[in-house]
């Protein structure tokens, strides 16, 4: 019995007031550093060129993990007497505690750590997980927060990356593809319509000139579907860009005398007619 007590007491160092003060100070400093990077770096990145902005935003979660690692490396030797034997003992006890008590939290934290290296999303990316689409605004230890186009913030635990596909529209780059769809009646000059829509894309003030403008035409039973695909210079402009292409595309098609698609009469039910 005395031997066990001796072994447990050997796990810990002498903890006096100074050690406690040092631990509290370290935690406060790291907390302040993390808060500072979370507020300051995204703010400063707004003033930087696109390339540098993404680099700055991506450094936020990395800096947080580094700060936390530093904190652990600093604090653990203050509390524990680190030997190989003690390390195995503590790690075992910790695994059991984590396994039973905070399994879900631990899974999310580990997934968050994996996400740092695998990079399924970064700050500033536009992602879709499940039904939620939006811009990544925060990457925390447990969860990622996205701001949807309707200005809602959705918090999604990192562990969703184990089970669900993550759709990333820009994948760390400063642009993403936008698509404006047009429905045109059959028997129109396909190449002329495609060329006109391409010019619509090329003349948009939101266009990223480093990327191509593509028009894809598809035959359907009742009409031709044209998809005008192009990239905005700033991902946040994606909805304004799609609206701009749609508005000007419709106007250009009308001005060129191109007929809109219409639903065949025989498909309109009597109730719809009335």
């Amino acid at each position: 019995m005395e031997d066990r007590v001796q072994r447990v007491s050997n796990l810990f160092n002498d903890i006096n007031g100074w050690v406690i003060a040092e631990i509290i100070l370290s935690v406060v400093l790291v907390w302040a550093f993390i808060k500072f990077t979370q507020k300051f770096l995204p703010w400063i990145s707004e003033f930087l060129p696109a390339k540098l902005r993404h680099l700055t935003l991506n450094s936020v979660p990395v800096l947080r993990v580094l700060a936390l690692l530093l904190l652990v490396v600093w604090i653990v030797p203050l509390i524990f007497n680190i030997t190989l034997q003690n390390f195995v003992f503590i790690a075992g006890a910790l695994s059991v505690a984590v396994g039973f008590a905070v399994k879900d939290l631990a899974t999310s934290v580990i997934a968050g750590f994996v996400a740092l290296f695998e990079k399924p999303y970064r700050l500033g990316d536009w992602i879709k997980i499940g039904d939620d689409y939006g811009e990544v605004v925060t990457i925390g230890m447990r969860a990622v927060q996205i701001r949807t186009p309707d200005d809602n913030v959705v918090t999604i635990a990192h562990d969703r990356i184990w089970t669900e596909n993550v759709l990333n529209a820009n994948d760390g780059f400063g642009t993403l593809m936008c698509v404006a769809t047009f429905y045109v009646a059959h028997n129109q000059d396909t190449s002329a319509v495609a060329a006109l829509l391409r010019t619509v894309g090329k003349t948009s003030p939101y266009l990223n000139l480093d990327r191509s403008v593509i028009v894809v035409a598809e035959n359907t039973a009742f009409c031709m579907v044209y998809k005008l695909k192009a990239y905005p210079f700033e991902p946040r402009n994606q909805f304004a860009f799609i609206t701009d292409m749609t508005e000007r595309g419709n106007a250009a098609l009308r001005a060129a005398g191109v007929c809109d698609a219409s639903v065949p009469d025989d498909l309109i039910t009597e109730s719809a007619r009335s």
Binding site: P49, T199, L209
Partner: protein, 371 residues
């Protein structure tokens, strides 16, 4: 002043630079961060505490004769560079491709047309002139950006010009603003018709010293507010003593006409009681950084981008080229903040603040021009 009267420019600024090889004095990132730093400094009321003269004792100097002399000296130098690149070719003294392209950042719109007129080369400035000039052995189209608007229904005149140029058998030099060219690059015709374009070289401190000294001449001693030294003074090895011209070359992105406007903007003389009457002494400092207002920021930036692409135009014409119905007062707001000149309803870019405009657009992610 003839070219033989002038001090010879350094070798690297005597000839045109191929597009893509412009020697930017600072990278895009350095420029944008520098601009941000200047804005922060301004926001905290940063001044030059250790300046050689109290700026409160200076009043802005406006001297039409001096300004005209500087602009004339600069114009002559730019014409020499154009002579070096195009004159022999335009007169068919030397072999070369039939169509050539000259791209330039925003500047006095008449530099290329003045050069052509002085060398007796016909100039195409309107689509209506196409028929009359179709048989000219050589032709200059000084401002391609004037032939289009960034709208689906405003590109037709441009393609009419392209068709005429493709059919033209003589030599054609086409000048285009670098922002307009960045937009036009997406159309295959531009690449196919013209091939490799050229631009003015970047002027460093040495080149600026020669050009500006020729303009100012013996009219005045020009001293830096920061150091109190003459900006043209050289040491025993012939190197410039004062860092002002180096800062000016960097701040102006290497564009000498921007540097000249910045110099004129920052020129001041001591008030009467502080003036040394024995000498005409001018003080210069780099102009303070300009910021786009934070309210309606997007509207301001889209307006500036559109202005750079299309060049000087009427307010109503530019308004049609903006993405959304324009906010009332966006041009007067830009004018108030020093980004544009507004005269008789005509808007043009304030050249002295062009580097700030470029930095603001860069920070907002807009497509920048490429030289």
């Amino acid at each position: 002043m003839t070219s033989s009267d002038r001090t010879e420019l350094p070798e690297h600024v005597r000839s045109l630079s191929p597009l893509g090889q412009y020697q930017w004095p600072r990278s895009e990132t350095e420029q944008t961060i520098g601009h941000l730093f200047d804005k922060v400094k301004m926001a905290f009321g940063g001044g030059q505490d250790d300046a050689a003269i109290d700026t409160a004792e200076l009043e802005r100097r406006s001297d039409d004769a001096l300004e005209a002399a500087i602009r004339e000296a600069l114009g002559a130098v730019l014409h020499d560079v154009l002579d070096d690149g195009y004159l022999g070719w335009a007169r068919q003294d030397v072999e070369g491709q039939a169509k050539r392209l000259f791209v330039h950042p925003p500047m006095d719109a008449n530099v290329l047309s003045d050069w052509a007129k002085r060398r007796d080369i016909p100039v195409l400035s309107e689509v209506a002139q196409l028929r009359n000039l179709s048989n000219a052995p050589s032709l200059v189209v000084p401002n391609l950006e004037r032939f289009f608007g960034r709208q689906v229904d405003q590109l037709a005149p441009l393609f009419e010009v392209f068709d005429a140029l493709a059919a033209h058998s003589g030599r054609v030099l086409v000048g285009c603003n670098s922002w307009a060219f960045r937009f036009l690059e997406q159309f295959d015709e531009v690449q196919l018709l013209f091939g490799q374009g050229h631009t003015f070289p970047a002027f460093d401190a040495e080149a600026l010293a020669i050009v500006l000294e020729q303009g100012i001449g013996a009219k005045a001693t020009v001293k830096s507010v920061e150091t109190g030294q003459s900006i043209f003074e050289r040491d025993g090895d012939g190197a410039l003593n004062d860092p002002f011209l180096k800062d000016l070359a960097q701040g102006s992105l290497g564009h000498p006409w921007v540097a000249a406007e910045m110099l004129l903007q920052g020129m001041a003389e001591a008030t009467e009681e502080d003036k040394d009457t024995s000498d005409s002494q001018l003080w210069v400092q780099l102009p303070a950084a300009c910021s786009v207002p934070s309210s309606a920021r997007d509207a301001h930036l889209f307006a500036l981008h559109s202005l750079l692409i299309h060049g000087p135009r009427k307010v109503a014409d530019l308004d049609q080229l903006l993405p959304n119905p324009p906010s009332n007062g966006v041009w007067s707001s830009l004018h108030r903040n020093g980004f544009v000149n507004l005269k008789d309803d005509l808007v043009s870019c304030a050249i002295r603040n062009y580097p700030d405009i470029r930095s603001e657009l860069s920070a907002a992610g807009f497509n920048l021009d490429r030289l």
